[in-house]
């Protein structure tokens, strides 16, 4: 994914964690850019799934 602030490209799992101990909720699941720490929304599972289906199709073609 691409950071919405600095444009840094990184994998979702590379993002920094930090809000897991937020007292008001169980963490907001935002993905923090490893370079600038801007909080990016993660890709929803639905869209990730769709992308996977499409890329799989492309490969088989």
């Amino acid at each position: 994914m691409r950071c919405g602030f600095c444009g840094h490209e990184f994998e979702e799992h590379e993002g920094n964690v930090g809000c897991k101990n937020c007292p008001m909720s169980s963490g907001c699941k935002m993905v923090k850019c490893p370079r600038c720490n801007y909080e990016n929304p993660p890709e929803p599972a639905l869209i990730k799934g769709l992308k996977k289906v499409f890329s799989a199709k492309k490969k088989t073609n």
Binding site: G4, F5, C6, G7, H8, E9, F10, E11, H13, E14, G18, C19, N21, C22, P23, M24, S25, C28, K29, M30, K32, P34, R35, C36, N37, Y38, E39, N40, P41, P42, E43, P44, I47
Partner: protein, 663 residues
């Protein structure tokens, strides 16, 4: 530092990892597509870990080419082999300690001239370099022509044209990795004076180094402390001799060495690119580029910012979202249809009065909590996050950071603080957490105060704007008040909290038209997150308020706050909004919305209440985060200061408005 030990030939220097794999280091500026290339090369098996003793993360993965295993290392972004940031230091250390079999320097074809000096440094250090000119597709679109073979001939190293995002050039890169690497011998020289200086220092160096002596000499001349230490260790008794030569040379140049060297490197790059790089006669300045320049210059950037705020925030979020949409959802759907219907149903099936009250009473879970959350807050945050995602996807935020850097400097902050401030308009709680990324404690404290005080969160902002937009004078007063307070408190804080303002440097990604899919995805995700977070809180707040009501505690609190409200010139009912506001900022604003629709506030009272409420105590969540990030003492101090300041400002504003009869 034992890593600068003996250097034989490059082939000897190439190490073999514990697993037996040769190492390949990806180096280059940020934003040149290094990570994309890394992913294209490595696939699934990737480990990310902090570089020992630092907070810098380094990714490693492996790939097999022609049956041989290679370890790929994605180094942090670096601009030069002379490190300034911790990231650059780590990147250089990887080059030195891990002795890669191959160094892939990835650069952006569109910024070839600016990035080639680092290639020169890598060649000069006699590292086994392969140059990857990335983003060739974009460069071609801009009309730039790059003669890759000629570039390769002039640099004396393999050069590969690529567009890694489209997987173009990846097979060639894999082939280069599998091929035998060779030491580059620099085919370029500096001025006679410079070469003379370098030669003298090289002669005084007797030890063996991983980097070429020429590179070591240049780093010494540039006053690189790490390299100086290393040379001290390696040279032992000979070090004072080296030091004398270096000092002499530096003195002759009156410390202008950095500048001289970078000028010479630029000239060399110009020579190399002559004929190998062609920009179109009339360079195609894309609209995005022109626009990008306008956004960062104060003369055009500030008006542009105001236009963005007016159309995005005022018209779209304020008038459309908080006006039209809320009128429809809250006014029509809830007040006219849903609430009467649910009240009837509950009254019919739930016999117990207390429970009726809890569900559909004045502060009922459904009639208040749910109505606020869905009818008022949801349309506002939806439009806000849509606007926010459009700005985000266009690449506007880093430009905003540059634009405000100057103003922020006077407040002891840098443009970097834009990240938490911008996030604050979404939710102050998460923004407070993000302040930990600011460089100095001083910056963090100042940013925390400003967030707690003067940055309203999205929902609060939307509600307040929709309320005040009905009386434009009120909106203007509110805006001016907050801006003044923001600047004033910032300036004061910078005076009170000791320390220096750090430097701010930022690489700006290209501007682009927001992509519809991206914007929708981001908006959807943010809304989902927000809604999931607020709904339980709104329900909890409803329960607490209901408890307060049946135990009459709530009335006593309102009673207790009546004098405070009176001193602000507000009716006692407005205490409710402030009590709501402590649960959540947006809840308080929604309470204000209710009061206004009931016709309890005139323009002056509305303005005073809005200003006080915006400044007023951060919500519970934000307070807890402040405590967590800054500790009890600072959090309580900020909380007290903010509350006092809010009511003080409200009082002052009320006096002012009464005296001037402005509203």
């Amino acid at each position: 530092m034992s890593f600068f030990k003996k250097k034989g030939s490059c082939h000897e220097a190439a190490t073999v990892a514990a697993s037996g794999a040769k190492k390949v280091a990806l180096v280059g500026n940020p934003n040149v597509g290094k990570s994309v290339l890394f992913n294209a090369l490595t696939g699934a098996y990737v480990t990310v870990s902090n570089y020992p003793g630092t907070s810098v993360e380094v990714s490693r993965g492996s790939t097999a080419i022609n049956g041989e295993e290679f370890e790929i290392i994605d180094t942090p972004g670096m601009y030069s082999i002379l490190p300034i940031t911790e990231e650059e230091r780590v990147a250089r250390e990887i080059l030195l300690t891990e002795r890669p079999h191959l160094v892939l320097h990835v650069l952006d074809a569109r910024n070839l001239e600016r990035m080639l000096p680092m290639t020169l440094q890598l060649i000069e250090a006699e590292l086994p370099v392969v140059l990857v000119v990335n983003i060739m597709d974009e460069a071609a679109r801009m009309g730039l022509e790059i003669d890759i073979p000629l570039l390769s001939k002039r640099l004396g190293i393999p050069v590969i044209g690529a567009a890694t995002a489209k997987k173009i050039g990846v097979p060639e890169i894999r082939a280069a990795i599998a091929g035998s690497s060779s030491c580059a011998v620099p085919p370029f020289t500096y001025s006679r004076l410079m070469e003379g200086d370098i030669a003298e220092i090289c002669q005084s160096l007797r030890g063996e180094y991983i980097l070429s002596k020429k590179a070591i000499a240049l780093l010494l001349l540039q006053d690189d402390a790490e390299v100086a230490n290393l040379v001290r260790e390696t040279e032992g008794v000979w070090f004072p001799g080296v030091q004398t030569v270096v000092r002499e040379k530096r003195f002759e140049r009156r410390e202008s060495f950095h500048l001289d060297l970078s000028m010479e490197r630029k000239a060399i790059v110009k020579g190399i690119l002559d004929g190998a790089f062609k920009a179109p006669e009339k360079r195609v300045v894309t609209l995005a580029e022109r626009f990008s320049r306008w956004t960062v210059r104060p003369a055009t950037g500030i008006p542009l910012l105001l236009i963005v705020l007016y159309f995005g925030l005022y018209q779209f979020v304020g008038v459309f979202g908080a006006g039209t949409l809320v009128d429809f959802l809250e006014g029509k759907v809830f007040e006219e249809h849903f609430n009467p219907w649910i009240i009837e149903i509950v009254k019919l099936y739930v016999p117990w009065g207390m429970l009726q009250e809890l569900l559909v009473g004045e502060y009922g879970i459904i009639t208040l909590g749910f109505r606020y959350a869905v009818g008022i807050i949801l349309p506002i945050v939806a439009t806000f996050f849509l606007f926010f995602s459009v700005l985000e996807d266009s690449g506007y935020f880093p430009r905003l950071a540059l634009l405000v850097d100057r103003v922020f400097k006077t407040m002891g902050l840098t443009g970097r603080a834009v990240i938490p401030m911008v996030l604050g308009f979404g939710c102050d709680t998460m923004a407070t957490m993000v302040t930990r990324t600011l460089e100095t404690v001083r910056e963090r404290v100042i940013a925390t105060v400003l967030l707690a005080l003067a940055i309203p969160c999205s929902a609060q902002l939307g509600v307040i704007m929709s309320l005040l937009s009905q009386t434009p004078g009120a909106l203007l007063t509110w805006g001016v008040c907050l801006l003044l307070i923001f600047l004033l408190v910032g300036l004061l804080a910078a005076k009170v909290v000791p320390g220096e303002t750090p430097m701010f440097y930022m690489e700006i990604p290209p501007m682009r038209l927001p992509q519809f899919g991206n914007v929708l995805t981001k908006t959807y995700t943010r809304m989902q997150w927000y809604f999931m977070e607020i709904l339980p809180l709104f329900i909890l707040a409803s329960v607490l308020l209901w408890l307060g009501k049946i135990t009459h505690f709530f009335e006593k609190m309102i009673e207790a706050m009546t004098p405070v409200m009176a001193s602000l010139g507000l009716p006692k009912e407005s205490a409710v909004a402030f009590i709501f506001g402590f649960f959540r900022r947006d809840y308080g604003a929604a309470g204000l919305y209710d009061l206004q629709t009931k016709g309890l506030l005139n323009a002056r009272q509305l303005t005073v209440a809005a200003v006080t409420l915006t400044l007023f105590i951060p919500c519970v969540a934000q307070f807890l985060i402040m405590k967590k990030e800054r500790g009890w003492k600072v959090a309580i101090a900020i909380g007290l200061f903010v509350s006092g300041f809010a009511f003080g400002s409200g009082w002052l504003l009320n006096r002012f408005l009464l005296a001037t009869q402005l509203l």
